[in-house]
Assembly symmetry: C2
Homo-oligomer: 199 residues x 2
């Protein structure tokens, strides 16, 4: 077992999160306990709780890393399309492929329920804002008649819609009558929404 | 402890599901184990597994009851609006209020992940189909130019969208810039989608 003096707090935090990502990807979220993470880096649970406030804080930091990972994925898997609709569909398809390819990390993003006494910290909200910013910047030129607030709202509504499709189709694997792929459903959503919103 | 001969299998099943609903509403999904349900009705876990195939089968039956409950809730909380848009918004608002008021039951509907070897049984799919049927019947007169399949698809896309809004706003309690209530987000989604789809 490593001695506390071997690593700084920042180093321990980084090692712990790296170990947590590994556990998450290999065993799913059930495997992520303070005990397992501490064991993986050769420290005690007590040391882990010197760098994280509690289990929830550790999971939020883990999810913040996933939001960074998702952001990089979206950057890598989208290009510059000819139209806003094309750009939105590229972004949505990239989101869907992340949810499929990295399902454990994507699932954990939505497993932490937030109650009234437990608002999300600023460093987490900043990352969410950055993701929505991708949608906003695509919508922005499309709807000249809308103010900034309306664009922000439309970005969130559209994204919640794409997210709902991912949830029901990927996590629940619903195979319902008229079954479309998540990408086809997203196209129907984006096309029709933009016809209304872009007018 | 009751003797097995006291109740028929059907009666035991019904008692178990009633007890499971109580546990779910009072303690959340974490409280629902075969042991707890069996204890609540005075039977052994072994007896419980004579009427349910396994834990998943018990949870699916519990969710089927919730789908019935949700269907009755939607019936009770919607009237006959003047326009299809109005009817859709009534239905969406009723769905949102169910998610808020009966959050434990609503959450459990989406906690069972379905894998490829574990498709949903027909009696469960029938109930999902009935719910989507509510959306289809509202959409049906609106879009005369669409075939039945397109109506089915639009119903699912819209509903996945409303569901995504519920998930992010109610379960995650996201308070993002430009924050709208779930009902306002739903209105934006439905209004813009229908402008495109209804044309």
């Amino acid at each position: 077992m490593a001695r506390r003096s071997d690593h700084s707090r920042e180093e321990i935090k980084e090692m712990a999160l790296e170990a947590a990502v590994n556990i998450l990807e290999n065993e799913g979220s059930k495997g992520i306990s303070a005990r397992n993470v501490a064991k993986a880096i050769g420290y005690t649970v007590g040391t882990l709780y010197l760098v994280f406030e509690n289990q929830r804080d550790m999971l939020l930091h883990l999810n913040a890393l996933s939001l960074d990972d998702l952001d990089a994925w979206l950057e890598e898997h989208t290009g510059s399309g000819a139209t806003p609709t094309e750009n939105l569909l590229q972004l949505a398809d990239a989101y869907i492929s992340y949810a499929v390819e990295k399902s454990a990390r994507w699932n954990l993003l939505f497993e932490i329920q937030v109650d009234e006494s437990n608002e999300l910290p600023d460093w987490y909200l900043m990352r969410l804002g950055r993701l929505f910013g991708r949608v906003e910047s695509i919508l922005s030129p499309l709807a000249k008649q809308h103010g900034e607030l309306e664009i922000q709202r439309a970005a969130r509504v559209l994204w919640a819609g794409v997210h709902g499709i991912c949830m029901l189709k990927i996590r629940q694997r619903l195979t319902l009558a008229g079954g479309q792929s998540p990408n086809e459903m997203t196209k129907m959503l984006v096309d029709n929404f933009l016809e209304g919103f872009g007018k």
